[in-house]
């Protein structure tokens, strides 16, 4: 069995001129940095008063709204907002609701009244529906849902009241940081390379083979267990490695960036994408194309 070896090498620091212009406006701080000594400001999240100097308690960017100063951290657990698309895993089945783990500080809640009944009926949930909860979603199942509201303690309330949300079938789940996923109009994309992607705002990205034809009555209930073809699997594996490469270099994830990265990685073998040198090449090319695309 051949074992591959590499010697440690110096990493080149990639910094494009285009990104430099954005850097100057941002006020980045680390925990312990003094933001201001002016006492006229109100302190928001991520700050504390240290002998009447406003100091940052997290590493991130300083945001100022009139008299309120807060620090938005770069790496944080997912803070939900109404309307976000999230992907989560069921951890508990309770009375009339499911607890979903979504990479946030508290487990999110999916109420029984917020899911579609099989067959698309519209009626009040009965006791029988409660007993049949486990037939629909069990512990360990993956779902895609939308944030309906936020409880006072910060827990999210999810709903799957649309045909595009529901239980997820065969595919690959990739964990990235929530701050890397770009907020867009739609988070469900059918990529032209032959796979589909759901970019959850909470940092969970789901890759799955594009479904053949849309089953209207199925809604979120039917998960196809047919074997996925080898070509689809290769596309999904390549996409997964590209996502990890993009996340390692902190490139904002959205459909265009994922697609460009996929195309830039085509000359490489799938397993080589995760090697640091090759990752840098691919990301450089992706970044250049993105800059041209915007400009």
């Amino acid at each position: 069995m051949a074992v591959e070896m590499r010697l440690p090498a110096v990493h080149k620091h990639i910094s494009l001129a285009a990104s430099q212009s954005n850097q100057d406006d941002k006020h980045l701080v680390v925990p312990g940095d003094v933001i201001t000594s002016d006492t006229g400001f109100m302190r928001g999240h991520g700050t504390y008063m240290d002998e009447d100097r406003l100091t940052a308690s997290v590493a991130g960017e300083v945001e100022r709204v009139n008299k309120l100063i807060c620090v938005r951290p770069l790496k944080t657990r997912y803070n939900g907002e109404v309307g976000d698309v999230v992907i989560g895993r069921i951890t508990e089945v309770q009375q009339k609701r499911w607890k979903v783990e979504t990479n946030s500080r508290l487990d999110s809640v999916l109420l029984l009244s917020s899911v579609n009944l099989p067959g698309g009926e519209l009626r009040r949930r009965s006791a029988q529906d409660e007993l049949a909860m486990r037939d629909y979603l069990q512990e360990g199942d993956l779902i895609s849902a939308e944030v309906q509201s936020i409880f006072s303690d910060g827990a999210l309330s999810l709903h799957t009241r649309s045909l595009k949300y529901g239980k997820l079938g065969q595919g690959v789940l990739v964990f990235v940081s929530p701050s890397i996923v770009k907020r867009q109009k739609t988070h469900f994309h059918n990529l032209p390379c032959g796979a589909s992607i759901i970019l959850g705002n909470n940092g969970y990205v789901w890759l799955y083979p594009t479904p053949g034809q849309q089953d209207e009555e199925a809604g979120g209930y039917y998960t196809s267990m047919e074997p996925v073809s080898l070509s689809d699997r290769e596309v999904i594996s390549r996409l997964r490695n590209c996502l990890l490469a993009l996340a390692a270099h902190k490139v904002l994830l959205y459909d265009t960036s994922v697609l460009y990265c996929y195309e830039a990685s085509l000359p490489q073998q799938i397993k080589d994408i995760l090697k640091p040198e090759i990752m840098e090449e691919i990301i450089l090319e992706t970044r250049q194309r993105l800059v041209e695309h915007e400009g």
Binding site: M1, T91, E101, E139, G140, D141, L173
Partner: protein
């Protein structure tokens, strides 16, 4: 902060692998991970590494009044703590089920088995006895905390030395370690816990489960035994039903493992004692491997070596023979060729001859032109055949 829940496919993969008698790290069903026992500079401080699970144990003593029901016996106090350092799933100051189970099992294993002679801890009957306090801290959780904790506790107790006391009537003089050598505790036997994890309703069992295996287990059987084949305690949790012969088989396996581990502990104690007597350096700092920046060291990873020779021969036969480097005239362009490199003009040594670096390496596609020409650039005619023009090295 809870751990990320295990995905369904990972769970299925682990169970399927166990059905096929394969483990994630390549061990056999009854194999333990590498156990490493190190002692600190103080007596009674011990760190045990079971694979990646690390547990620290510290033993200390104090003179206290004895319990009313047992005025002639010393007191043993056990405390096990799970700090968030061990795993993100552990929260500080939270009384979880795992914590209670570990504490109870440790107490049962060490106190109820009467491995320490508590009568010898009595100083003045009814007034002063030694209270031995055993604190176990989990530094890293990678499965099987119970075994690691019990090994650490008994090693630390064997390593510990209590101060010497002299009694004159009702006066007690406690001597410091400098005045009189401290005395070891009198330990009758060494009880050690061996954990068995059961999967798929008790059909498969594994010894020393790692953290992933523990997550998918159905039940756990912990047998505390000493090397004289005496069972000190048995505990079964998880609600699985075990057959009589399964339990007997486990106890046989446990006796083998316990004798190996006891020998390991005794060897480690003996090493430490020898080093201390010779006056060498001892303690945790000495037992840690030196991390030098210039060397790269990783743990040996077992690699499957079957058919290595055949595959190597195959690869060698399949590759082509490397092309030989032939020094031939380099065809620069049509009608222009260069044979060899030529040597630098050694006439007329000028001041700037010293800073002319002589680059000897020429590749066959790059043309190193050394000429006396006064021109800045040597251009070869017939440029379509020429790949690149190189500025000449001026003499």
């Amino acid at each position: 902060m809870r751990d990320i829940p295990l995905s369904n496919c990972e769970r299925r993969f682990l169970l399927k692998a166990i059905e096929e008698k394969k483990r994630l790290d390549g061990r056999q069903t009854y194999d333990y991970r590498n156990i490493k026992i190190t002692f600190g500079t103080d007596y009674g401080c011990c760190i045990v590494e079971l694979g990646r699970t690390r547990v620290l144990c510290q033993v200390s003593c104090e003179l206290v009044p004895p319990k009313d029901s047992r005025p002639t016996e010393g007191i043993m106090f056990f405390n096990l703590e799970l700090s968030p350092m061990a795993s993100p799933a552990f929260e500080p100051n939270r009384q979880s089920e795992l914590l209670v189970m570990l504490n109870r099992q440790l107490e049962r294993c060490l106190r109820n088995s009467k491995c320490i002679d508590t009568e010898s801890l009595c100083v003045v009957s009814g007034e002063k006895v030694w209270q031995i306090r055993v604190d176990v801290h989990v530094l890293n959780h990678d499965g099987n905390l119970m075994d690691a904790a019990s090994i650490a506790a008994i090693s630390a107790l064997s390593h510990f030395r209590r101060p010497d006391v002299a009694i004159q009537g009702r006066d007690i003089t406690v001597f410091s370690p400098e005045e009189r050598d401290p005395i070891p505790l009198s330990i009758y036997h060494m009880p050690i816990c061996v954990s068995f994890a059961f999967f798929l309703q008790g059909s498969y069992l594994l010894v020393d489960p790692c953290e992933r295996e523990e997550r998918v287990k159905d039940g756990l059987l912990v047998i505390a035994m000493n090397k004289h084949r005496e069972i000190c305690s048995i505990q079964s949790s998880g609600g699985i039903m075990l057959l009589k012969d399964q339990v007997l088989r486990c106890s046989k396996i446990a006796s083998v493992k316990v004798s190996e581990i006891t020998e390991l502990i005794n060897k480690a104690l003996e090493n430490d004692r020898k080093i201390r007597k010779e006056g060498g350096k001892f303690g945790f700092a000495e037992s840690m491997p030196k991390e030098r920046i210039t060397t790269l060291k990783r743990d040996e990873a077992p690699v499957e070596m079957t058919d290595v020779k055949e595959t190597a021969n195959e690869i060698v036969n399949r590759t082509e023979t490397p092309t030989e480097a032939v020094s031939s005239p380099v065809l620069v362009a049509m009608g222009t060729a260069q044979v060899g490199e030529g040597i630098v003009n050694s006439w007329g040594l000028d001041e700037d001859e010293e800073d002319e670096p002589q680059t000897e390496d020429t590749k066959t596609d790059e043309v190193l032109v050394i000429s006396d020409s006064e021109e800045e650039e040597v251009v070869i005619l017939n440029e379509e055949a020429q790949k690149s023009t190189k500025p000449s090295k001026q003499k």
